[in-house]
Symmetry: C2
Subunit: 350 residues, 2 copies
């Protein structure tokens, strides 16, 4: 009988944040790909595009004119999935037909006035502006009495459903704890109650000893490929210090966070020499006025690409019906990312 090798043999790994297993089939990276190829996003956009509804000073489809903004710019989403208004609701749900109205606020954040400047190509000081806006928004939205959770995220690239290439993120703030947050919180909480310590702090400390899945590290943050990652090049930014949300970040931490944000997105672009698509977002404590010692600030990156700039991993079929599945092992992915240059491939060196 062969000795088990996690870079060769099919196995399952446990995600303690979601209390779910995933299937790893590392040998399968060898299969040929005859399926769909993605379009490569054209990469010669101008600094200002007069047809872009996110550019500085332009008019949006609802007739509103953007400010002549010069750094990070926030406005309320013209096509919000959540609405502020309270509605009159009579609850006659039964067990199998449960429904409740949901209130919220959706915002759009343009990272910079430059139509062609993505996070990895921005100066760290400009990324700091974005992080500061995230902090302001978390405070402002979270202080509204009907807002109990604030989801900050970015969809990058058309393959990730991003409908405008102008670099921007979104915030969806709402009354309820969304499904993934509620699950994560439940698992963080039960670990905290049992061990009187933060699951992610304990996890990151073990990873720093093992070094196998670390991609980048600075004084205050770590980027790693989680042991239980599902997307081929999925990573997580985890704070070294145990704190629950972005308000608690010191100035030094804000700078270190901005640096590591640039660090990981530069590596991503360098991986396939393309503007690397992903969905990314911060998971942090709810704004529900309850104490949350179990929460530990972190940010997830879920990038779809698998083999090249045009071949993505499809989470379909088995994955939708049965269980998330990955081909390349998390350790292999971490090594590849770790060994990539820290300088953006488009930067001219002299």
């Amino acid at each position: 009988m062969q000795q088990f090798d996690h870079n060769e043999h099919p196995h399952r790994r446990y995600n303690p944040l979601l209390d779910e297993w995933i299937l790893v089939s590392p040998h399968r990276a060898k299969r040929p790909w005859q399926g769909q190829n993605e379009k490569i996003a054209e990469d010669n956009r101008p600094e200002h595009d007069e047809n872009c509804y996110l550019c500085s000073g332009n008019v949006r489809s609802n007739g509103v004119k953007n400010d002549n903004y010069t750094d990070c710019y926030v406005f309320e989403n013209d096509f919000s999935a959540l609405l502020r208004d309270e509605v009159d609701f009579e609850n006659n749900s039964n067990n199998l037909f449960q429904l409740k109205p949901e209130r919220g606020i959706n915002k759009v954040i343009c990272f910079s006035p430059k139509h062609n400047l993505t996070l990895p190509e921005m100066e760290v000081s400009d990324i700091e502006m974005v992080v500061k806006v995230w902090k302001e928004q978390y405070i402002e939205l979270g202080s509204q009495d009907f807002i109990n959770y604030v989801q900050i995220f970015e969809n990058k690239g058309s393959v990730m459903g991003c409908s405008n290439p102008h670099p921007h993120g979104q915030i969806w703030a709402q009354s309820s704890l969304p499904t993934q947050i509620e699950k994560t919180q439940r698992n963080l909480r039960s670990y905290y109650d049992k061990n009187q310590s933060s699951l992610l702090k304990d996890y990151v400390e073990q990873e720093l000893k093992l070094q196998k899945r670390i991609v980048i590290e600075n004084d205050h943050f770590v980027v790693l490929v989680p042991f239980w990652a599902t997307w081929p090049y999925e990573t997580m930014i985890i704070s070294k210090r145990h704190f629950g949300n972005i308000i608690a970040m010191t100035n030094d931490e804000t700078k270190a966070f901005s640096e590591i944000l640039k660090g990981i997105t530069v590596k991503y672009d360098n991986l396939f020499k393309t503007s690397f698509p992903y969905s990314a977002g911060i998971h942090q404590s709810p704004t529900d006025r309850v104490s949350h010692p179990e929460w530990h600030f972190h940010m997830h990156f879920y990038p779809p690409l698998l083999r090249s700039a045009t071949v993505k991993k499809f989470m379909v079929g088995y994955e939708m019906l049965a269980e998330a599945q990955r081909d390349i092992s998390p350790e292999q992915s971490a090594k590849i990312l770790r060994e990539l240059p820290n300088q953006h491939y488009k930067t001219k060196t002299n």
Copy 2:
């Protein structure tokens, strides 16, 4: 204050199979779409393609020659994600690093020798052949002592990661209960223990009274848009009689199931006059030699298209990080599907 209207106001619905909530934003279907368009699959394939590794009598990439098959054809996947072999494994996982080897068998099922014949265009009698092969495979694979669960599914269309347009499905059979199955089982079980009846039988009976989400019905099966559906045109086939798996299907039920499979896939093709992409799969009792009175045979269809043959719903960003979200309401989708013709749009009428 406005009166709540589930076709207008944002709300959340509860999925009792997964114990999860989803967000419904029906008003959002009105936003314009400026994002990625999908390629339309070219639809003039020949009946036999000499370059297709799934066609009858052709040689696959590993050198094996397909039989000269004339109806449904099954073989073991050349690039299996799961392997049969047992491996020697020393378990030194801790709490945060849990891993275990997984064994299994992956198969491919060509639905017919015709390279261009999808389920909605097949004769019901030929679909019956496919259902019989599913039954045989469930029995054969499930009787192996290391197989405790058999996932039968189909990825249709390149947008769903299908790497070969020759109509085919897959079976992944394995030792463990996959994450989604384990969750579903837990919820079916707790309902069963509490009510001494099948959750899905009770659900389908209520839906048949309400009629709002029913798409097709025959003597033995119902197709409906679940109250908690996440994909825009997601449906479920549910058996009217309470039985746990495909072995229990009578001849009449097998025929009725084949008819309704054709019925729903014809409606899907008619919706946007295109070969409609989806991932679909059967959820049924595990083969773990334990009694499962809680399981109720059903089949999920998860189709990605939202507005047209080229505009899909992206489950990204908020959906990946927070909660599944849909625009159009399940009741609107059900009505649209229900009112579509039962005859395939390519059929010549005279």
